[in-house]
Symmetry: C2
Subunit: 380 residues, 2 copies
């Protein structure tokens, strides 16, 4: 096991009706900016619940944080927030609204252009933020990470700042999600777990079991949720699992990969592919490309998550990859670049970008531009 | 899944050599009281490492916090701390030193006798404390719980106050632990997990898998550690697992039991049985007494943790209990009251105490004095 330091201060407030707890979590004197996405929260009643809970608070609304939140939009929020002297942020939405609000949180205390902060990669000077999560997927509700895009140049980078002070997760808010968003959220959660798990064997027995536990939960509930997307218990399992998939709890002392995410971010930046969908395309090809180095962990994964216990080792490891791809397909997601209309020009550009920034991703830092090309060729 | 609120602010600093990180964690101006147990840390080098790291700090040492820390001892520490105007506590030891220091932390800000706080059950007004853990067992390093004894009256009660600001876990400090302490620590961790898991089925898929993951880790490494008590990797797994067993991570949204702990505390208070050893005696008898209500979860536990998948349900559930008892015995621990020289007078007294305080423990609040008697009769 590697040495590590772990801390996660976010207060998780979970369950039906918990949005009404907002006044217990935000001091009465705070001047709040509430950030939103496109407006679905007005249709499903979440907006009304939030505003009802915040009666008596001084609030400013900022609407329009889009999927893959852009610096272009966030600059406007930061400008408004400075003008209104905002000292608390409440993000109401999915991972994109939460991610964007993390940059706003840092941008409000920064004099220059917030894109500087994204290029720097992190900022610890932030104003406090809370969240009301509406889509289980990114884990942003209980970590300090964000991913920010710049439309102008088709760039997309990770950015680290504050942990939310609190996050409210009411599974009933997911009842109105379109099936495609649920599918992408499941793929996102699945690959978050895999990025922290599918590396080397014999690192941490507990972390391995915990990662496998989330994966098994997902593969079991996915077909059930397809039939019953408004089942409170099933959506609770999914919502809690998505948060646990990327809050550091399964990453203690273990090597981590994240190459698939870095390639997926480029597909989103260049072609607008939804984040979870980009991972479903890249992940099976990544496993096939790095088959040798991930061989032993593939055997463990295949046996524990998919019950693959007979056959020659190579055949079992391949079967584990096939099962993974089948899982994504069962969600209704594409698993090939061609299905998403992505051609060689994109592969060339991703290799070029990786080379330009001397990319060295993956648990051993050996996923370079050339390896990324190979992975993408295996995703065609 | 039940509604819940989860937050755990403790900073976990894990790995070989991490004691040297102390100066990064305690502000230079702090006036620190360092609390210790009986002196083993002077023999195994931990004392020297701590004092080396704290060179330049203003420190006061308090020695002699005993196993099952007593109010009688802790009053002296509180008196000394007030006199020295201590504003930071560093507990260096096992769960007892940590638990005792949690009461000191509250007692330093309380004008009356600290036993009032124990009787009240909790106190949120505390001065900050950090820990250097030397025995994996109680989980006190990453939760806000403590158990405090009063020798004068043979009483022992839970008490809740502060989470440690940080806890340093260096697995090498466990290399000099006597086998009996390791065995008791393993039983303690095992039962902590069971108290949060062995209740009802279909509550939380992820929490169930996580609990089972810690149990499987323990049952796998226990025989290996017996052979290799100085194996860094094995002791890392144990140390991390013990912390994860009682820091709230596996208790989100699930019903919890804790009846065995309440009975075990009485055995310790009345007869001085080591905490982990008391749990090994009570737990199998508790399962046999409450066999019907825990039947379905016993089947799940038996199959997933012990691989019991054939036979009639009742026989499988009984086999799961037998396996649990065998596990405790494999650690070298007694599993019957008679082996510990405990007779009917103690059973009578525990029933009397439970009745006096209108005890209603367990996940359904139905473990009364009469049920506790039945459990203890099944432990004879």
């Amino acid at each position: 096991m590697n040495n590590f330091i772990f801390q996660n201060p976010t207060r998780l407030i979970f369950g039906k009706g918990m949005i009404a707890q907002l006044p217990n979590e935000i001091p009465a004197e705070k001047n709040i900016m509430i950030t939103f996405g496109g407006g679905s929260v007005k249709k499903n009643g979440i907006y009304d619940q939030v505003m009802e809970a915040l009666k008596g608070y001084k609030t400013t609304e900022f609407w329009g944080i889009e999927p893959n939140p852009s610096i272009e939009t966030l600059r406007k929020a930061i400008e408004l927030g400075k003008e209104k002297k905002i000292d608390f942020l409440l993000a109401v939405g999915g991972g994109s609204v939460l991610d964007g609000t993390k940059l706003i949180s840092a941008g409000l205390l920064y004099d220059g252009d917030a894109w500087d902060l994204v290029k720097k990669g992190s900022s610890t000077e932030t104003i406090p933020m809370g969240t009301v999560l509406t889509i289980p997927a990114t884990g942003s509700e209980m970590n300090n990470g964000a991913v920010i895009s710049r439309h102008e140049t088709s760039e997309k980078y990770p950015f680290y700042s504050c942990y939310p002070v609190f996050s409210i997760l009411d599974p009933t808010v997911t009842f109105s999600l379109p099936p495609y968003q649920i599918a992408c959220g499941m793929a996102d959660t699945f690959v978050h777990v895999m990025e922290q798990y599918m590396t080397k064997t014999n690192q941490s027995r507990v972390m391995d079991r915990w990662a496998e536990g989330i994966l098994m939960m997902l593969t079991t509930i996915a077909p059930l949720i397809k039939e019953n997307p408004q089942d409170y218990d099933l959506m609770s399992q999914f919502m809690l699992g998505a948060t646990m998939g990327l809050n550091g709890f399964i990453g203690m002392g273990v090597p981590q990969d994240w190459a698939t995410h870095m390639i997926g971010h480029e597909l989103t930046a260049l072609k607008g592919i939804t984040h979870g969908a980009s991972l479903a395309i890249v992940y099976p090809g990544m496993l096939r490309t790095l088959f040798e180095k991930k061989h032993d962990k593939l055997l463990q994964y295949g046996e524990r998550v998919w019950g693959i216990s007979t056959g020659l080792p190579d055949s079992r490891a391949h079967m584990a990859i096939d099962k993974t791809e089948e899982f994504f397909r069962s969600l209704g997601l594409a698993t090939h670049l061609s299905e998403a209309g992505i051609g060689d020009d994109v592969i060339d550009e991703i290799e070029r970008r990786f080379n330009e920034r001397h990319a060295a991703y993956g648990e051993d830092g050996d996923v370079t531009g050339a390896v990324a090309r190979q992975i993408l060729l295996n995703c065609k």
